[in-house]
């Protein structure tokens, strides 16, 4: 939502006065040029700021904050990014905004909870954060009181974040790799910086920080397993080519799968609006990330595989095809699915139990969904089905036990 021109001028005047009143430097209005605002708009989309900073569940005003983000440690509510004087960024300066993104501190010097992905945004250049700030100042100011975070002691104390940052946070700039191409470097900057892919796709340690050994090898978030997105040899998307990655991020449909749930939001609000060149850069970078060979897996008993195959044929083959090859761009092929074959089967279990909706995009507006099977299949049946799917192709993953399905079923029953 862009304000009308009149509002825009008022915002500029207000911003200028705020700067003067607080004596924090030159009035900012003079530096708001069209190209900087436009660059900021683009980066704001790339960073997908809107997804967290809009109370989507309650049809909230974009960027006005208040969305509750579930973390393993409690619920954190996103802040108001509109330039409202009392509740938003109205009194913030560019320097303060840069510090927030670069160091994770607010204008009062409080540490920000790393649900705000500043461990990634720290890579962003000052030029880029200034541009984002310039764009955010053009939004209509919205007074929006955000609920208090719901965190247990001692995490409820901001000081606790200081200790966390001491252990896990490094204030750093993006370092170009001169050996690699311009595009590769751009892709890496996007993936590690604004797009903050690792936020979901990199495994986390006990205190929620990225485990560098697990870089883009998949991570758990809100009981979803965000899959391995390394595109090189042995990677989770080794069989995707660059155009598949671009199609996934641009159209919300690739030969292999479609974005769903949280990734659906990312594609809808962010990546479908990015330039073809940037998406290509992301694909070029991801395709260079090799992975280690898979460990030998225990093979399940033959009768489990046979039962699983029968369940597959009766319930799944109509869409995913008898040979599990699916319908490319439509019904996911399961033979090479990085969700089916993930070490952690959470996402596959969850989709079978609860169903999932593929994200409609501007390019492909179809509303496709897999229906839930929780009412139709038992825990044992789902475990056998997944075990069959994980062991019937060239790449194999460990068998799934009924207790894993029980746990997910209990979680879903409690949450929904």
């Amino acid at each position: 939502m862009r304000p009308a021109r009149g509002t825009f001028l008022i915002v500029l005047a207000a911003a200028g006065m705020a700067g003067l009143a607080l004596g924090t430097g030159a009035p900012q209005a003079q530096e708001l040029s069209y190209s900087q605002v436009e660059r900021g708009r683009y980066l704001t989309i790339a960073g997908d700021c809107k997804a967290c900073h809009t109370d989507i569940e309650s049809d909230g005003v974009p960027f006005a904050g208040g969305r509750g983000l579930q973390t393993p440690f409690g619920t954190i509510y996103s802040s108001n990014l509109t330039p409202d004087m009392e509740t938003g960024l109205g009194r913030w300066t560019r320097e303060e905004f840069y510090d927030a993104l670069n160091e994770g501190v607010d204008r009062e010097g409080h540490h920000l909870y790393p649900a705000m992905p500043y461990p990634y945004f720290t890579l962003m250049t000052r030029e880029d954060t200034d541009a984002i700030f310039a764009y955010l100042r053009t939004l209509e100011p919205i007074a929006s009181d955000v609920p208090e975070n719901d965190l247990p002691f001692p995490l409820s104390l901001r000081q606790s974040v200081w200790g966390w940052k001491l252990l896990f946070f490094e204030d750093k700039e993006f370092a170009r790799d001169p050996e690699m191409s311009e595009e590769w470097n751009r892709g890496r900057y996007l993936v590690d910086g604004p797009l903050h892919c690792g936020g979901c796709h990199t495994g986390k340690g006990a205190l929620g920080a990225d485990d560098d050994d697990e870089y883009l090898r998949g991570g758990v978030l809100e009981h979803w397993f965000a899959p391995n997105i390394r595109g090189g040899e042995n990677g989770g998307i080794a069989d995707w080519d660059r155009d598949d990655i671009v199609a996934f991020l641009r159209d919300g449909r690739a030969r292999h799968t479609a974005p769903m749930q949280r990734m659906g939001e990312v594609v809808a609000m962010s990546t479908q609006h990015l330039s073809e060149k940037d998406l290509q850069a992301v694909a070029i970078y991801l395709k260079t990330l090799d992975d280690g060979p898979r460990e030998e897996q225990d093979l399940a008993e033959a009768d489990r595989l046979e039962i699983g195959e029968g369940i597959y044929f009766d319930n799944c083959a109509a869409c995913h095809a008898a040979d599990r090859s699916g319908v490319p761009y439509f019904f996911a092929p399961l033979t090479t699915s990085n969700k089916v074959l993930a070490e952690d089967p959470s996402t596959a279990i969850r989709i079978i139990l609860g169903g999932a909706r593929a994200q409609p995009t501007e390019a492909v507006p179809s509303v496709l969904a897999m229906p839930p099977f929780a009412w139709k299949l038992t825990d044992e049946q789902i475990a056998d089905l997944l075990t069959y799917l994980r062991q019937s192709g060239a790449r194999k993953a460990a068998p799934v036990s009924a207790s894993e399905v029980v746990d997910m079923r209990d979680y879903l029953a409690e949450e929904y």
Binding site: G355, V364, P365, S366
Partner: protein, 586 residues
Amino acid sequence: MTKQLRSVDVVLVGFGWTGAIYAEKLTAAGLEVRAFERGPWRDTPGDFATTFAQDELRYYWRHGMFQEASQATLTFRNNGAQTALPMRHWGSFLPGNGVGGAGVHWNGQTYRFLPSDFEARSHNEDRYGPLPEHMTVQDYGVTYEELEPHFDYFEKICGICGQAGNLNGRTVDGGNPYEGPRSDDYPNPPMQMTFSQDRFAASARELGLNPFPVPSANMSRAYVNPLGLQLAPCTYCGFCEKHGCGNYSKSSPQTTIIPVLMQRPNFSLLTNSEVLRIEKSADGSRTTGVTYVDTSGDTYFQPAEMVVLCAYPLENTRLLLLSQIGEPYDPRTGEGVVGKNYCYQVMSSATVFFEEEFTNGFIGAGALGMVADDYNGDNFDHSGLGFIGGGYIACHTTNARPIESHPVPDGVPRWGSKWKRAVRENFLKTTSVGVHGASMAHRSNYLDLDPTYTDAHGRPLLRMTYDFTLNDRRLTQHLTPVAEQIARGMGGREVKVNDRRGSYDSVPYQTTHNTGGTIMGADPATSVVNRYCQSWDCPNLFVAGAGLFPQNAGYNPTGTVGALAYWSVDAIINQYLRQTGPLVQT
């Protein structure tokens, strides 16, 4: 008390195929469009997902997606001497309800009417002399040539699978040699045929006929339509008609148009909201909007610059009668137009029972079939036959749904152990050759308001007065033996002929192809709307659907319904919006 709402550019009454078509084109042209649907929201994942779509008890037997007779029904009689009684349980036809309308639970057989079908009176009188006095057959006022681009577009929206027979005047082998010239091929190849179609085609060729694949809205392969919407390959599960498709394999408003509309900010949809009346200006020269009622019983007036009736033909007719727009038809004088020329379809068939061979009818799809058009329309010489029109003759394998479908040969009792044994023996070994006959208009077949029975809102029910005509009887007597002859050539053990005899019976299912009542034409004295489907009485009122047909051709109606909707909305955008007023001067 009726609450008044903010005015919009266009109100659509009913949100099935035609509602979706008008809405898509009018919102793309920048207008604010609001659609009203008396039934609920429906989409594939929520309402007919693969996990429960194939539930015959729920969807067919218990009418899961049809109009409920307690919400709205009609009264029926065969002729004016009888007293019409309400249909309390649907039988002969199954009107849709809810978003997508009957477009959700159709079979998907998607034909173009023949060029001569649009000129049924002038063409036949030119060739055979004057029609009998009480045959009220009329020309459409629009020609096949004018509709051709719109047929083509509708086929591309739906991804119709078929084999062209006439590409720009050039005859193509394997297609329908009688079809009007097509500007383009079908967007997808025909479906995969089964044993029954192969036998039918061989037998028909033996008789010198020209069988071709039924044009199908069940997909032969994955397809993306011009709006970017996706359709999946059909799995031949045989749950099309009376069911929604859980596999995204059947073109419906849900799969081919609605997701795009729901993203457009200038489109809104009110479900569970039934339009009670079309409102008029004081002088009756314009509509001013509609009055509707929601599920709480609250009534609202929705003002609009333009109203399009997109409900089922029976309900469009009733709304015009209830709103007193247009002169009601009077069968005694032949004067008046609203409710005139109600027509239907004249069906018959011959069932083949094989001894050894398996037909496996459970491997089916709504539009899986081979068809011959040699006895349709005026594709054959009618001299001395005493009727006009015809019908296609086809062998479909649409389903072997066990509750509905268990054909047994002649001489088998209707219940008991002998019947059960016959079902067991024949279930996998039968097929059928059907005649899909045209229904020609007659002065005594019409729709009006019932004098006795009312609906839940106290409004009179629609009354249908209908029986098969002499033309229908002669047509079916001429065509059914051809179907029988083809059936006998298919190599089965025996053939059972299901003739169409006696009066029309509203109980057994035949087709949901009710036509007429809001017919189009060139003369306001004999039609409700002009050639652009615009009301002669109120120029800002348009009507869609098979109610426009002055008489019904020997085809399924949806292809022509779609083409007429695109033709009409094109005239609205390119002519009417420039100068709002009558598009045809009288």
